[in-house]
């Protein structure tokens, strides 16, 4: 294993997440996938192990506030189950707007419960007509005295219905276009805020994906994050910061698939020898392992840069998410191929890993959007020189 020069604390986090993933997640992952059951028991175990607050400063009950530590935990959990991994990671997505743009009061109110794992969070941006074109959101937040009235529906929200704390982007002033959106913290149970339709998905089936429905939902102005008009800035900065986490999830899924492929190839005897000794298989594994390591190295590098206080990492964060998710899809598909007939059977874990991997190329900005971002950044950089 390559030494990424992790600190003792980071190693502790990684080893603990790995232990819990092996001992507690592995025995139930197939059943959770089969039944599409939300992994509450596992979230409780992560909470008791102090893993939920890795991205939150100590001041608010967190542990270490390290994007890299968060990535390490997400990677180890996803290595065993991508669905549990995203459930674990999505709270960071939902809570990061508060971390970045919340007032001290708002942070005090919401972050400690997220850090302790008492509550989960979710991020509400996507709508039926606004995916990649996030600017096209139609959910409105109309100011009325001390309140904003929210109307509209968010779609495909991870942890939707299970989380207590929601960061929601809505239009406060349509006339201003992209500068007319604002970000709000909305609590589950607020009158006018309900959930619809739990989605049936190809993969990450234990993760709860629901519509958020706002019908004249009254939200107090103290729930506004930052200022009116900052909505998309909140969203973009949040996604920048959480992209390494999704990269880590993808690296984890890929590593899990590689582990299974090697384990299988070692004991599968055909033509008188284990298939691991056949060059064709070795080349497949070599390509898989190389892509994983490259993805991992980039994810860790971006995470370290963020932890070190780096300000300019948007392009590289997109790259990390892009390469890691494409790698996850590639590796899991190859893993199924190596297990061949057995790989196709639900009795073996790799078909699930392939189903789980696909979404990493889609959410948190499709890989096409990632390429857009990287391309535009290159253009911008070239204009300077």
């Amino acid at each position: 294993m390559l030494d990424y020069l992790l600190t003792e604390e980071q190693i502790m986090v990684r080893d603990l997440a790995k232990k819990i993933a092996q001992e507690k997640v592995k025995p139930v992952r197939a059943e959770l996938d089969e039944k599409e059951e939300f992994p509450w028991d596992l979230m409780k175990i992560f909470a008791e192990a102090d893993l939920c607050g890795l991205w939150i400063p100590e001041k608010y009950g967190g542990f270490g506030q390290s994007v890299l530590a968060f990535c390490l935990a997400t990677e180890e959990i996803s290595r065993v189950c991508g669905g549990v991994g995203v459930t674990f990671a999505a709270t960071a997505l939902g809570g990061t707007p508060i971390l970045l743009f919340g007032s001290d009061e708002q942070k005090q109110k919401y972050l400690p419960d997220l850090a302790s794992g008492k509550k989960l969070a979710a991020f509400g941006l996507t709508e039926a007509n606004a995916g990649s074109d996030a600017g096209g959101i139609e959910t409105t937040a109309t100011k009325n005295g001390d309140y904003y009235i929210l109307n509209g529906t968010k779609q495909w929200i991870t942890n939707g219905g299970e989380a207590e704390t929601y960061s929601v982007i809505a239009m406060t002033d349509k006339s201003k276009g992209p500068r007319g959106a604002s970000a709000f913290i909305v609590e589950k149970g607020t009158p006018g805020f309900s959930f619809a339709k739990k989605e049936k998905k190809m993969g990450i089936r234990c993760s709860a994906t629901r519509e958020l429905v706002f019908q004249d939902c009254k939200v107090h102005k103290s729930q506004l994050l930052g200022k009116e008009g900052m909505g998309f800035i909140v969203a973009m900065r949040t996604l920048d910061l959480t992209r390494p986490g999704i990269g880590a999830q993808a690296v984890g899924i890929a590593q899990g698939a590689l582990d299974e492929a090697i384990k299988y190839a070692k004991q599968r005897v055909q033509f008188g020898k284990p298939i691991l000794s056949i060059q064709v298989i070795q080349h497949m594994l070599a390509d898989m392992a190389t892509q994983i390591e490259a993805s991992r190295a980039l994810v860790y590098a971006v995470a370290k840069a963020v932890d070190a206080g780096g300000k300019d990492f948007t392009k590289e964060a997109s790259m990390a998410k892009l390469i890691a998710s494409d790698t996850a899809m590639f590796v899991t598909t190859q893993a199924v191929q190596i297990l061949a007939g057995y790989g196709y059977m639900r009795e073996y874990p790799v078909e699930k890993m392939m189903r789980d991997a696909k979404i990493t190329q889609i959410y948190e900005g499709t890989n096409q959007i990632q390429r857009n971002q990287i391309g535009l950044a290159l253009v911008k950089e070239s204009a300077k020189s």
């Binding site: 003792e8 175990i45 192990a49």
Partner: protein, 260 residues
């Protein structure tokens, strides 16, 4: 509530092998772990503390590396730990071990409940827990699968061969637990940090005022005279053919043996 847990650091016996030629244990590469039943005991102690308040103290008698096992219990949430370690304890059988642990408990802690795992997976005797209770003159309950405490009484459900028995026992008392009692929690990060920083007190025979005629090999009534590999039973017959063919062949062979 003052709860004391006695643990043992053991080799992971699922990995231990014996060298059939030398009849010695092959311990290289075999990880040392907290005896699994003792993990259940620590977990139960933590649950009792969560319910009733109080303190969980963990004690072990062992060589210096047993501090690793104690640190794992700190990472789970134990409040205080002690290592009882001394040359004088080497070679102890269960009689001497239970005496040593009882001496330590007498010297170091007040207790309402002493919890032990049912048995150690290396010694497999299940004798130390009751031995401690006898040395301390307190009542015992073994094979607990559920413990409820109310004031100075405990209601304990025991896992026996065919039935479960529910008993009431006054505190202070000693209870040994079986695996089915709970799922031990993984360590927490904060616990691991505490464990890392912890300085573990090591106590000698003199520190616990143990009579060195009763400890160690000298004090042990039993002595191991031989260790050998378990006999390998001979191989048998592998049946072949279709499922129906194999099943028919099996049934006729069993009938030949007059089994039914």
């Amino acid at each position: 509530m003052e709860i004391v847990v006695c643990i043992k650091q053991v080799p992971d016996t699922t990995e231990v092998r014996i060298n059939p030629e030398t009849n010695t244990l092959i311990r290289e590469g075999v990880p040392s772990i907290v005896n699994p039943f003792d993990e259940n005991a620590v977990e139960e102690a933590l649950r009792l503390r969560e319910k009733h308040g109080g303190k969980v103290t963990v004690i072990t008698m062992g060589p210096p590396q047993a501090t690793e096992a104690l640190k794992q219990t700190i990472a789970m949430g134990a409040d205080e730990v002690f290592l009882i370690s001394d040359r004088a304890f080497a070679g102890s059988d269960t009689w001497a071990t239970s005496y040593t642990l009882a001496s330590a408990i007498k010297k170091l802690v007040k207790y309402d409940i002493i919890l032990c795992g049912k048995q150690a997976i290396d010694g497999d005797t299940a004798q130390v827990g009751p031995g401690i209770a006898e040395w301390l003159g307190i009542p015992q309950v073994t094979f607990a699968v559920k413990i409820e405490v109310d004031g100075n009484k405990a209601k304990v459900e025991r896992l026996l061969e065919e039935v479960n028995e529910i008993v009431e026992i006054p505190t202070p008392c000693m209870i040994t637990v079986v695996k089915q009692i709970n799922e031990p929690r993984p360590p927490s990060l904060k616990g691991m940090m505490r464990a890392k920083k912890a300085e573990i007190k090591t106590l000698s025979a003199v520190d616990i005022e143990a009579d060195q005629n009763i400890t160690g090999l000298k004090g042990s009534p039993t002595r191991v005279v031989k260790i050998f590999a378990p006999p390998q039973k001979g191989g048998g017959e592998m049946l072949s053919g279709s499922t129906d063919e194999m099943v028919s062949a099996l049934v006729s062979k069993l009938r030949e043996r007059k089994i039914f």
